[in-house]
């Protein structure tokens, strides 16, 4: 009876559709979590600092745009992943090719979700400091914007790897 009930067997009998759907959910859900976190951190600092220095609002909306771009990356990858989710006939559902496709979509979703989560958080905190220091001294804005651009590149890395990962998710062709 060795091997008839073991963790590896249990994990392998989870349908690849489960893994793929969870990957899609994580890619959009966790990305939006990061973007929202960033926007509310930046937004509250921006509105507070604009009381005494109303001139900062026009330029500091750039930080909010960076955070929103993080959410859009999550949506782009979720749309790409859901076009990759195909039906396979029941005989093929546990074929190695199916499992590979399910795991690839799962991994792609996790990559994009968590990269965007921390990118959104990073850009949000930098954007908040940017608004506060711009209110005091407007020459500092461009220098802090450079740091923000580096921060938003983190989300870009995650999206690139996620898209490359998902492009190889091919399900087995329907058996005759």
């Amino acid at each position: 009876m060795a091997g008839s009930s073991s963790w590896s067997r249990a994990l392998m009998l989870i349908s690849p559709y489960t893994f793929a759907s969870i990957g899609i959910a994580i890619s959009i859900g966790v990305s939006v979590l990061g973007a929202a976190w960033g926007i509310y951190i930046t937004g509250s600092s921006l509105i507070g600092a604009a009381i005494k220095a109303p001139r900062i609002t026009s330029k500091n909306l750039i930080s909010v745009i960076f955070c929103e771009a993080v959410a859009i990356y999550g949506v782009i990858v979720a749309i790409i992943l859901q076009t990759k989710l195909e039906s396979v006939p029941e005989s093929q559902i546990y074929a190695p090719e199916s499992l590979r496709a399910g795991y690839a979509i799962f991994a792609s979703g996790i990559i994009v979700g968590f990269a965007n989560l921390f990118c959104g958080l990073c850009v949000g905190i930098i954007g908040s400091s940017c608004a506060l220091s711009d209110a005091q001294n407007s020459t500092l804005f461009v220098k802090i914007l450079v740091i923000e651009i580096f921060g938003s590149a983190l989300g870009l890395f995650g999206v690139i790897v996620g898209i490359i990962m998902s492009s190889q998710a091919t399900w087995p062709a329907k058996a005759a």
Partner: protein, 107 residues
């Protein structure tokens, strides 16, 4: 302020619509030449073009925002400013009065 909001809303809408349009075009083979691509290269190309379009909108918005001249029309509320100045002058007058009184008492 209204101009700032208009530009922001416009940039946000384009930032959403452009990648969606690119993905839609590739998936439904509206874009010429997308029918001949294999599935994996279609995914790669559509994904990268969508991400590039988002970044392009961001760069354009940054250029538009940096070009704006620093406008002087938005100042703190003038009544608030006048009250603040009056209170500073008043406290300066009272401290000078107190200094004068303390000098008398020491004598």
């Amino acid at each position: 302020m209204a101009g700032v909001m208009q530009k922001f809303v416009l940039a946000s809408m384009i930032m959403w619509l452009a990648p969606m349009a690119i993905l839609y075009g590739f998936n439904h083979h509206i874009i010429p030449g997308s029918g001949q691509l294999s599935s994996s290269s279609q995914t790669l190309l559509s994904g990268f073009l969508a991400v590039i379009s988002v970044n392009l909108v961001i760069v354009l918005y940054i250029i538009m925002a940096m070009k704006e001249p620093a406008n002087r029309e938005l100042q703190p509320d003038p009544a608030f400013l006048a009250e603040a100045k009056a209170s500073i002058n008043q406290s300066a007058a009272t401290t000078s009065n107190h200094d004068a009184q303390s000098r008398d008492k020491v004598e």
